[in-house]
Amino acid sequence: MLTSNEIQARLERVLPTVQKPGRYTGGELNQVVKDWDAVRTKVALVFPDIYDLGMSNLGLAILYDLLNQRQDVLAERAYAPWTDMEAAMRQNEIPLYSLETKHPLADFDIVGISLPYETLYTSTLNVLDLSRIPLFSAARGPQHPLIIAGGHSTFNPEPMHPFIDAFVIGEGEGAIGEIVDTVQTFKQRAKNGERGALLRELAKIWGVYVPSLYEVEYHEDGTFASVTKLFEEAPLPIDKRIEATLPPATTRFVVPYIDTVHNRAPIEIMRGCTRGCRFCHAGMITRPVRERSVDEVITAIEETIHYTGFEEIGLLSLSSSDYTHVVELVEKVHERFGDEHLSVSLPSLRIESVSVDLMDALKSGRKGGFTLAPEAATEKMRQIINKPVSTEQLLETAREIYTRGWTTIKLYFMIGHPSETLEDVQAIADLCKAVLQEGRKAIGGRAKVNAGVSTFVPKPHTPFQWVPCDSIEQIKAKQDLLKEQLRGRGLKLNWNDPHETQLEAWLSRGDRRLAEVVYQAWKRGAKFDAWGEHFNYPAWMEAFEDVGLDPAFYTHRQRPLDEVSPWEHLSTTIRKKFLTQDYLWSLEGRIRIDCREQCFACGILPTFAGLRRQNPGDVWQCPEVKNKRVQVIRENQVAVRT
């Protein structure tokens, strides 16, 4: 393997020949460079897509900050090179390297990969290959780094199980430190010790899933039968990891020199969501709702500006309107930063006129448009997906938005929800036109509506985990209808390629057998699946054929409620009974109200009763736990299920 100096020297010649060389240099403000030889544990944090996207990933920014705060640890970054750079690297035999010190990834002790969505899987294999690290966990020896991964898609990590040594299920802040500690103790105890022993140690950490310590079986019809652990102390199920309260916000962000996708500083104001939209993966896996105080957020903004000079701050959450002190927060932001030419964005606002007041108070620019996400256009569909918004309220909010100076409204919808018909899709077109009509009344011909219509993919751990995904033909018919209807002045439509939707659908509810499909697809050239121009559908179809699996088995089957899901041993701590009931409610068109109004015992509180009791008050939106007896349920549950 090349040394960091040799890599640096080869880069000198390569960089002037590639597009946007700034992606590959590092050296940005706030990057952390430590003395390589003086630090005990080296961690490479990888986003398996290009720099431009990866730099906006908040999860990795948090871990980078946390790890580098430790004196005995260094964390450096790496991203997937774009195709021109990959070709140049392969030609010049440059392995994938870290931006900070240009060390090959193979020289690190731990490589941590962020997997927020499934279309990164083939690029992950490509990253390992470019790093010259064996793709399969079983082929790695004591000289190779430990490969770990986390992120939303790892709540069903099975399609990636043979490639990753250990997954972190849930929140990574606490887990990463314990993983580092375990690696340190292990290396101290046994130089070049057996890798399996390390993995068995790691499996004892709360939230860590080591797939090689479990075995799965299938029924003859191909459905999932059971999971058995191969090591006594491995947990079953593997409960997700959470932080009892949100740790201090990261504020010393690395500031990119080149333009990136979300070129701003993200500050999380709240984690989790109480709304319970039935299609929403994030809403189910990030419970309970925990908030940061207004003062904490204001201080974080101040620090961020001081360290980075960013002109834009994004206040992040799954549903900003539900942040308890949102009005106070916006007032304080205005008071404190009103004169500083700082643009503050507050995404995911509810469809109500209060949201327009909030945006107005933030003095946000009008050029980006105002975004609303009704997701569905008929009463029936809104009840099915549990997102009750009335058309009347939407039109009233739209009117308010146009009157206050915005010329563009972006409307987000989803097609393909369970039991959706072409009439429901027609209603999306009608609703967009009705909104545009409001705009015309208010500001005339300048009014615009941009409709972003994505396609629903049934996600694991949600009440819709049993439903089939629309076929390519069904999706095309619905998109054709929209394309025909939503044209003309002031209307714009964006949609997703139905083939890409299928890929996401196979993988999100896949089992371990799909790993071979991922591998075969990568071998046939699949990578950058999320990039339309690179998505290689034929490679995937050939891979399925080769492995002898039917893609429709994963996507187009109504799964029986009593079928065991291949991801059930990975626990969000939401009970299957709750998900089943919620699914049955959706069939009746029955709404489940915001759970801040009433606790529906989804399963979070019994599991985390101890944590809740230690953190009383507003920091969680779940009710307080008084009954001491509840605390033991977690142990019982585990005992019963194992």
Binding site: P16, K20, G22, G27, Y257, I258, I305, G309, H341
Partner: protein, 204 residues
């Protein structure tokens, strides 16, 4: 108050484009908490103005940026506010106050000087230079357009076998590029390190 900052651009910063450099300066000035003047309108922008664009990959210790401030401040204070917040690869060389009536920077630039180091020694470099300079016109194509490079070369000298000095015209519609000069000398620009050493303004 209108100030002119001379700065160097090196290290990773040399792969930062003109537009991205503009944003990097905006953020640097914000970190320094200088009283920046902003344009009017719905999306106000800080009033700053970068001089001659430096092609990607070149280093320089002669770049210029103009900045408008809301209030008067001593130059020394401005410099001590900037120095600790500069990103790696940017270094302030000099700060001066400019008169408000002076035309914009871009309209003042006359010519630029470059130091070029070649990765491999070129034994007949002196001959190639002499040969090129003896021509009355050097017709070249750039982005599909034909132009004459010769009048854009104000001076071209070689010191040793692998070191060139260039002085090139830099006016709107008549800007000489050092990589074009290298190509005319039959040298691969990728094997050269190109460094801008001076920007010459009108009246200097």
């Amino acid at each position: 108050m209108r100030i002119k900052i001379a700065f160097s651009k090196t290290e990773a910063m040399r792969y930062t484009s003109h537009l991205d450099l503009q944003r990097t300066w905006e953020r640097t000035l914000r970190r320094a908490q200088l009283p920046l003047a902003y344009s009017q309108g719905f999306n106000p922008h800080p009033k700053i103005n970068l001089g001659a664009a430096l092609p990607l990959g070149f280093t320089s210790d002669a770049e210029i940026i103009e900045v408008w401030l809301e209030e008067q401040a001593p130059l020394r204070e401005i410099e001590s506010a900037l120095t600790p917040v500069l990103p790696p690869g940017l270094k302030v060389q000099d700060i001066q106050e400019t008169e408000r009536r002076v035309p914009k920077l871009q309209n003042l630039i006359q010519s630029t000087k470059y130091q070029v180091k070649l990765a491999e020694s070129t034994p007949d470099l002196a001959e190639r230079v002499a040969d090129l300079l003896s021509k009355t016109s050097i017709i070249r194509q750039r982005r599909g357009k034909e132009y004459d490079l010769r009048p854009l070369i104000l001076a071209l000298e070689n010191e040793e076998e692998r070191h060139l000095q260039m002085h090139l015209r830099a006016q709107p519609g008549a800007t000489g590029r050092p990589d074009e000069v290298l190509l005319a000398l039959d040298i691969d620009p990728l094997s050269a390190h190109i460094h801008r050493s001076e920007i010459i303004l009108e009246g200097e």
